[in-house]
């Protein structure tokens, strides 16, 4: 279109110049996108292909590689693996359970003009997202430590509740991981919901008020449906964030957690690859995880009608 309009102007460069221009316009976009093509091929496509191949191999050294078919996958199916799937899935589910409704409600409050100190609260909720995972890991590791005097046990003591060794039991360890995740991402999700709220027309609330709807009804009938795209987006990023969880567990429990209580699928990949030097087995877990994430993404994209849009 842009070249079409040029043909009618008198300011045209000569015919030869025009040709050079058109040729340049055809080649230029490929040069612009070249960085992505290169980085995609080298650092994404090639690693995926190589991990698929490795998952069928036994790798004892750089030159000592044997093809062993599906053996890595067969060996993979053991207690550790199922435990990792269970921990990862539970973690993902619980983080969604907390990190969708809570930020949504907080965003609604922050969006109301009447709320006191809106800017302060918004910044306060967002600040944890600025910090590296080491900050959250260090604090919660100490706060949920086993000493009687440490923060959480001390607070429990005030209420006369028994002290616990939080980071050594499965159920409480999971709770701490979810708390760490909530601390880190609450503010970010609030920002997403706040931006979603701006796109709900005010008239909808006004006409609901005329019809005599109360705040709660407005929230359920207008706000929640209006935020549907944001909810879908937040659920999606939580699903793959959850299934890719590694750093939080690594910092709370170290590379190997007691009784596998913090063993996620990525921790398992890390252990197999870097402690047991078994790149083949680690790759098999990686491919399985990739399959899980892709499957969930496909389902999610289909549900949101992404593929319909593209085919138009």
């Amino acid at each position: 279109m842009n070249t079409g309009t040029m043909k009618n102007t008198n300011l045209l460069p000569g015919k030869a110049g025009m040709k050079v221009h058109l040729k340049q316009q055809k080649i230029a976009p490929y040069i612009f996108v070249l960085p992505f093509i290169l980085s995609f091929s080298i650092f994404f496509l090639y690693p995926i292909i190589s991990t698929v191949i490795m998952s069928f191999q036994e790798i004892l050294g750089p030159k000592d590689v044997t093809f062993i078919g599906l053996k890595n996958y067969r060996n993979m199916i053991n207690e550790h693996f199922f435990n990792a799937i269970w921990v990862t899935t539970r973690y993902t589910f619980l983080t969604i359970l907390v990190l969708v409704p809570l930020p949504m409600i907080l965003a609604v409050f922050l969006n109301r003009r009447k709320t006191i100190g809106r800017n302060f609260f918004r910044s306060a909720f967002f600040i944890p997202a600025l910090t590296s995972v080491i900050v959250a890991g260090l604090f919660f590791r100490l706060a949920f430590g086993e000493q009687d005097t440490t923060l959480v046990n001390m607070i429990l003591g005030v209420f006369g509740l028994p002290k616990r060794t939080w980071l050594q039991q499965g159920s409480t360890a999971m709770m701490v991981m979810v708390i760490v995740c909530t601390w880190r991402w609450l503010g970010v999700n609030i920002i997403y919901f706040l931006s979603g709220l701006q796109s709900i027309p005010v008239e909808q609330y006004e006409s609901a008020s005329i019809d005599g709807a109360n705040e709660w009804q407005k929230f359920l009938r207008i706000t929640v449906p209006g935020l549907k795209p944001v909810i879908i987006y937040v659920v999606t990023i939580s699903v793959y964030g959850g299934y890719a969880m590694f750093s939080e567990s690594y910092l709370l429990f170290g590379p190997r957690s007691p009784g596998d209580i913090g063993l996620t699928l990525v921790s398992l990949i890390y252990q197999l690859g870097f402690f047991e030097n078994n790149l083949g087995a680690g790759s098999a877990v990686g491919i399985t995880l990739l399959g899980i994430v892709m499957l969930i993404n496909m389902v999610q994209l289909t549900l949101t009608g992404f593929f319909k849009k593209e085919s138009d």
Binding site: L106, T150, M294
Partner: protein, 282 residues
């Protein structure tokens, strides 16, 4: 009617209490880390993080360790983080903006396909690829180098997406004007369009710098020797099975947060606009 307004007030009060509680949950950890950083590390091992402030016991010894502790290794980590953040951010902005601009402004064969590839990369957690990327890094001598940390993620799909969104709103008439004046396509980008995209660069600089500064998983894998570590990786290395070196850890963590906090206070809007354009409304 009166009871109704009292009810409303009570609800508002309850909400305010809830918000204050959550704000304390968000800010409390930073406050406790700060106050603990003035206490001896042995205190952390014995008592953990306590509510007692014990101002008498507080001192700046842990902060002296930043220079002196372990032969001043912390300064190496700081230097590495600064260099990697700077180079990584500059490179990522240049490359990602070129790609985003190209995708937004030109119609060419394979454009939609490329766009789908970008979405696929965006939706694939890099944690899945740590083993093959590690193997590749050994082969191309990336292990324990700055380029090894920076290059694999230099083209950020999120930044590409952001620049594409921003460039798409610019008028193509500027490009035609440039062509008439005899600019090459790249001249048009660097002389005309890039200056128009400066606000997008502002927002992305901050977000990319923050994510480079805080990066954990990939640097943990690719960096090996103690003098090459970045701050998050160096600091986590102080947590060992043989006892934790809390003295340096606490003051080190505090000092690693301060630069981001300063940038955040100066540019809150850029943080937020950078985050929200990423496709929520797509």
């Amino acid at each position: 009617m009166i009871s109704n307004s009292i009810k409303k007030r009570l609800i508002s009060l309850a909400l305010l209490v809830l918000m204050i509680a959550i704000a304390m949950f968000c800010l409390g950890p930073l406050f406790f880390l700060l106050s603990s950083s003035f206490k001896p590390g042995s205190e952390m091992i014995r008592n953990g993080i306590t509510l007692k402030l014990d101002i008498g016991k507080m001192n700046l010894n842990n902060y002296k360790l930043l220079w002196e502790g372990k032969d001043g290794i912390y300064l190496y980590w700081y230097r590495n983080s600064v260099i990697i953040t700077f180079l990584g951010t500059v490179l990522s902005l240049i490359l990602s903006s070129l790609v985003g601009y190209g995708l937004a402004m030109y119609k060419f064969k394979g454009r939609n396909f490329l766009f789908i590839l970008i979405l696929i990369v965006m939706m694939t957690p890099i944690e899945i690829l740590i083993l093959p990327l590690y193997k590749l890094s050994i082969a191309i001598r990336f292990i324990d180098t700055y380029r090894g940390v920076i290059l694999p993620f230099a083209v950020s799909p999120f930044a590409v997406f952001f620049f594409r969104q921003y460039a798409g709103k610019l008028s193509r008439e500027f490009m035609d004007a440039g062509r008439i004046d005899g600019c090459s396509e790249f001249g048009i980008y660097f002389r005309i369009m890039m200056p128009l995209m400066l606000p997008a660069f502002g927002a992305m600089t901050i977000l990319q710098a923050m994510s480079n500064w805080n990066a954990f998983v990939w640097p943990l894998i690719v960096l090996r020797s103690n003098e090459m570590l970045t701050l998050p990786i160096g600091l986590q290395s102080l947590l060992t099975p043989y006892g934790n070196n809390y003295d340096l850890l606490l003051s080190g963590v505090v000092m690693s947060i301060i630069p981001i906090m300063i940038v955040f206070w100066c540019n809150q809007k850029a943080f937020i606009s950078g985050l929200t354009v990423g496709g929520v409304k797509g």
